[in-house]
Symmetry: C2
Subunit: 394 residues, 2 copies
């Protein structure tokens, strides 16, 4: 495992981060290009706020946690300056995307733009404690809480009252965001907040009968027999389970960690493609045809997040199934997603594991899941044996 930890560290520092430093900076207009082809050439200049916030977070977090590399701090500041100047509408909502020059392009219909902006500015405040960064992170977080029961606002197409569903993504991300922003929100507020999001993830979206996590349920928590209600996204639930393990460490709650490991392993077993290997993107809990035509594709983030889940599960519990699955998913991921001829990793494979798109970054893939997972797995595997001697929890 030490050897593997070094492999993940090397891939992060020598392959993936240099790719983003070399190719994603827009020196002319500020902010980051994320639409980068196989070799790193820019193929589209739109600026997606999700990905701007995530890249700011990535470099600030690594500067804070790994080493005070001035280039990393400069990257974070570069992205944040562009976001601060152009990213929000008059009400402080973050646009979904901007044109290269910062002109707003797509309205703030998507609350995850706000989540990743808060994440980015929160991390930046840790390495450069300007009151402005604190204020943006705090105000954005407060705005997310205000919008959370109607996150799409005026852009929702649902007729109210007919099928009021709630979605798994927001409580799931709030599990992670509340920990990441503890220095902004204060521990007391986070302590108040945690039980509520935990309840949502572990008791409302998690289904006792099947052992699976649904993406959408009725507001009262019951099952909706509709395309949205039947939807399963194995990678999403597995990612959530490592957020829950982090909460378990924070709360020193071993039972919670054990439950998260069990749920994540069940989702992985369910989502694993028995025919071609890899983890399927979307499934239907009643085994009906999903509406997502990309259901059978293999996505980078699904596999990266699963590696984090398994490495943490192994680190924190010593569960042998985590280790065995880690080896299997590691082999699949490095064989199919890593590009041996050019830097960074492929994002989208077809069911057989062949590249579907050769891009290294796009509208949804930026400097986030690959480097975050490489960092998290490196850390978890380095700590794993120490934990075996001295458990974090219990």
């Amino acid at each position: 495992m030490k050897h593997l930890a070094a492999l993940y560290k090397k891939e992060l520092l020598e392959n993936v981060l240099p790719f983003w430093i070399n190719h994603s900076k827009d020196e002319q207009h500020g902010g980051f290009f994320t639409c980068l082809d196989r070799a790193g050439n820019v193929f589209d200049t739109d600026k997606f706020m999700w990905l701007q916030g995530r890249e700011v977070w990535m470099f600030a977090m690594l500067y804070d946690k790994v080493t005070q590399n001035p280039q990393w701090k400069e990257m974070a500041l570069h992205g944040a300056a562009f976001m601060e100047k152009h990213g929000r509408d008059a009400q402080g909502n973050w646009y979904f995307s901007l044109a290269q020059n910062g002109q707003p392009l797509i309205q703030p219909y998507n609350i995850f733009s706000d989540c990743f902006a808060a994440l980015g500015f929160g991390a930046l405040y840790k390495i450069d404690p300007k009151p402005e960064y604190y204020r943006i992170a705090k105000e954005t977080f407060d705005n997310i809480l205000q919008r959370r029961n109607n996150p799409k606002g005026i852009y929702t197409k649902n007729v109210p009252g007919t099928r009021n569903l709630k979605n798994f993504a927001l409580p799931m991300i709030l599990c992670n965001l509340s920990l990441e922003l503890e220095h902004i929100l204060g521990s007391e507020k986070v302590n108040e907040f945690i039980p509520e999001v935990l309840e949502e993830v572990m008791n409302v979206f998690y289904q006792k009968d099947t052992g699976l996590v649904l993406e959408n349920v009725y507001e009262d928590g019951s099952f909706s027999d509709s395309f949205e209600g039947r939807l399963i996204n194995p990678g999403h639930a597995i990612e959530a389970m490592w957020f829950i393990m982090d909460l378990g460490v924070r709360l020193k709650d071993e039972t919670l960690i054990q439950r998260a490991v069990k749920i994540g392993l069940d989702m992985l077993e369910y989502g694993w493609d028995k025919q071609y290997g890899g983890i399927l993107y979307f499934m239907d809990i009643k085994n009906q045809p999903p509406q997502q035509l990309e259901w059978d594709q293999k996505l980078w983030w699904v596999h990266m997040e699963t590696l984090v889940f398994l490495a943490k599960g192994w680190q924190l519990t010593g569960n042998e199934a985590c280790k065995a699955w880690f080896e299997k998913v590691h082999a699949y991921t490095w064989e199919h997603f890593k590009d041996n001829e050019h830097p960074e990793w492929f994002g989208y494979l077809n069911r057989r594991g062949e590249p579907l798109l050769e891009l290294k970054g796009g509208k949804w893939k930026g400097c986030f899941h690959v480097p975050r997972a490489l960092y998290q797995v490196w850390q978890a595997l380095e700590k794993a044996p120490a934990f075996a001697e001295q458990p974090v929890v219990a």
Copy 2:
């Protein structure tokens, strides 16, 4: 070609229509189920207005054009009654979808619901001339024209002014809709209307330099180097070209027909998958990665509409390339999309031509492209030799 005409006719009358008659009628709440699995079982009960309107049109049109089968008229009336009762909001816009019982589910953000409602009620008025059907078709068509410059209305997420694009789909469908509604709108109105939509399709979205048709251009017709601006949908453009050929026949304009044949053949050559056969779903004119993850899939409607285009092209011009391509696309389509074990045809194949979803109907596939194409090809191939002796145009 006579033998082929009989094959298409038989498939329509003995396989495809009975499938929808037997499985799509909701006897309890009215309207049509369209989410039908491989064998015809209902797997989801939502009612999508696009598909309700299309199924009404299909049965009414066949009753009008093929034979006065009372079962077909009954199907059309059954769907129309449900649409009339539940389908519109207070302003007369057609909802995108309803729950099984008719409760509105998704708001009228999509103007194509209105297009297919107008199509359906227009055809119904031909076989059952109730003033109510006339009124609904007419008012819906007028509403489409009113909304056409901002078809998504309040549901649009684009910030006005930054990148004002217009989309190919609406002018393209209006080419077809104006002919289908000539008995409602009057010939004078249609004559006024045709030059405008023809100009859009044949001179604005069609690009002289590349010979290809774009899905989105700036309002002034210029090229937008963005995901939307670079997008090519070969099947969409090919379908448009048979609408244009119908307009050519209506206008007795042989040059227009010849141009449509040339453009359609160029799009087909461009969109044909040289590696695995079949026609790709989405492409990027600059050969960059498209944002649609389903770009490499093979969709039923793309292939069905291409067969119509080729059969009409052959019928109207005797172009040998149309015949050769017809044989090639016919072979691919019947081999991969037709289900030899159960009725109706598959809708979604992966790049290799294997079924991606086994459904026969869903949120977007209903009683429309397969039966319409079987009817159109049957008619075109039956007429083809007659045309060779006595050209329709010139």
